[in-house]
Amino acid sequence: MKKTRSMLVGIAIVLCLALTAATWSAEKGTPENPWVIGMSQCNLGEPWRVQMNADIKSAADAAPSIKVIYKDAQNDTLRQRAHIEEFIGQGVDLLIVSPKEAAPLTPIIRNAYTNKIPVIVLDRRVVGEDYTCFIGADNKKIGEAAGRWIAGKLNGKGNVVELKGLMTTTPGQDRNSGFRKGIEGTEIKVIFEADMKWLEPDARKEMESALARFDKIDLVYGHNDPAAHGAYLAAKAAGREKNIIFVGIDGLVQEGQAYIKQNILQASFEYPTGGKEAIEIALKILKGETVPKEITLKSRVFTPENLEKGGEWLPEMPASSAPAQPAKKEQ
């Protein structure tokens, strides 16, 4: 036993030395000795986040000067914190973090940032300004755009069912409050609303209840595309899908856009992942160029009419609908 253990320790030491030697040997940022980027994803259980990693991967594969290591925290804040600690310990050249929660992950991200590791924060914010760049889309604006599009589609009047995402999460809250702002001043009534926890089977169940209660439903607004799809299946089972318009959010190629192609949804609002942009910014940072502190991603709306053309960019919203800024230090 003792012999094996000391042998293992020996091998480990040799490996460590070899690794250090390899990292010290040559200039960084070449295909032989690429920059190492640590990517900490909060939950690969969601298709949208799988898409984010896929976008990062396809952009990174095109850049031979970088190598990305992926870690999935499986929706656990403390696990994500441990992953970031591991990346720091391992001395990565840059961090991309898509945090699960702001407050608990802020100290560790600040730690990396003050230790001269550039940090790109993706999608969800952290508290303060101790990161290099924030890239994200704005759920409130997307919700508001959806509200306006719906108001236009229904000529400002009608009965809407709202299938909400988990209302304890910011995307759920923002897609709800943005939408309510978008339909303000119209005669659109939300006659039934329920929390479907982002899950399609739950959305279908809630829609069945809405159908059982109300004879006139003009439109279903789902906080994600699976919700709108689940609602469609419920309406179809009741033979009422022809009289209802279904609208969702996310606009993934294999979900929202596919549903539009199959004439299930009438609109899906893109919530971009920012994966491609993260790698572009990462390359700039690593090459020593300056980058903006904050990048708000533009989103598109997909409809049956514009799907072939690759969707239509949403117009810029007035500043009043900008997201609430997190508490800033020194202000």
């Binding site: 690969l44 259980g45 298709p47 799988v50 396809s58 209302m167 039934f192 609303e193 329920a194 929390d195 926890k197 399609e200 089977p201 279908r204 169940k205 809630e206 069945e208 209840s209 159908l211 059982a212 209660r213 689940g230 299946l233 419920a234 089972a237 009741a238 033979g239 190629v253 294999q254 979900e255 596919a258 192609k261 199959q262």
Partner: protein, 337 residues
Amino acid sequence: MIPLVSNTSQKTFISRLMQYPVTRAILALIVIFVIGLVFNGGGAFFKWPAHRDMLRQYSVFGILACGMTIVIITAGIDLSVGSMLGLSAVVFSLLTIHRDWNPWHAIPACIAMGAILGVVSGGLISRFRIQPFIATLAMMVFARGLAKFISGGMKISTSIQQADGSYIYKNDPAIFKMIDSRILDGNLAVVTLIFIFCLFISWLILSRLRIGRYLYAIGGNEEAARLSGVPVIKAKIFAYGMCGLFSAIAGICQAAQEYQGDPEAGVSYELTAIAIAVIGGTNLMGGRGSILLTLFGTLTIGYLDKILSINAVSEAGRLMLTGVIIVSAVLLQRRRK
């Protein structure tokens, strides 16, 4: 809350009746049903579609609960049913949508896979004497991992990504539409029919076959059962195998109703399945319970959920009310001295 009755013979009749678990299970169901009649969601509860949809939605949970009941009767537990459902949904979608398998090959393949994984759990528990909680917890994690591995973390749907990153779109397989359709003039979902079939099979096993008596004997007192010649190891492996098999059937139904195989499907469904079995009156300590009780358990939990849903109760309220009502139902069912 039995009304005071002056007639003693009638009183004893009621209390005698209340000794049967089935009567108590029915009583819990009636209470929930009355709540539904009062809070009827603007009259929605008085129409058949609300009931039909509840039966459709709870069929998957009910199928899981059939397997769970068999396992609980042996004084065991199976935490892996939700993950197995997800795995089966992924494999079934992959075979039928991506590989264009004939459903009459894909369905037995999925069911066999579920049964084999169940047998593995059963073997670990009976042969290697790992606690059921631990062995099936391991299987729960493993099966979820396998589902994610096979699917690459993505939902297996009719949009299929090609090697170059573009997508092709296939039609929904006929078998999905068939399982997600309704019979009897649109009044009964096919999945409910499958649930009834699973109930029948479980009833056959537990009440009409020798193996059923073995399972009750093991749950009552495993050592005594072994000493009186019950093949304990084989019987337990059979119980977990059946539970895996039912989970696979539930997974097929889930995939057909979602028109896709979601590797995340079925998370926490095991808890609902356990709640259904227990609320029906099957004893977690083993040896007592029946499939009829599980049917009433399914209806009780299903109606509770439906009533909360048609009244659009907020999520926070739903969770609290569900907790309170589950405890009340169990208290109501407790054997009176």
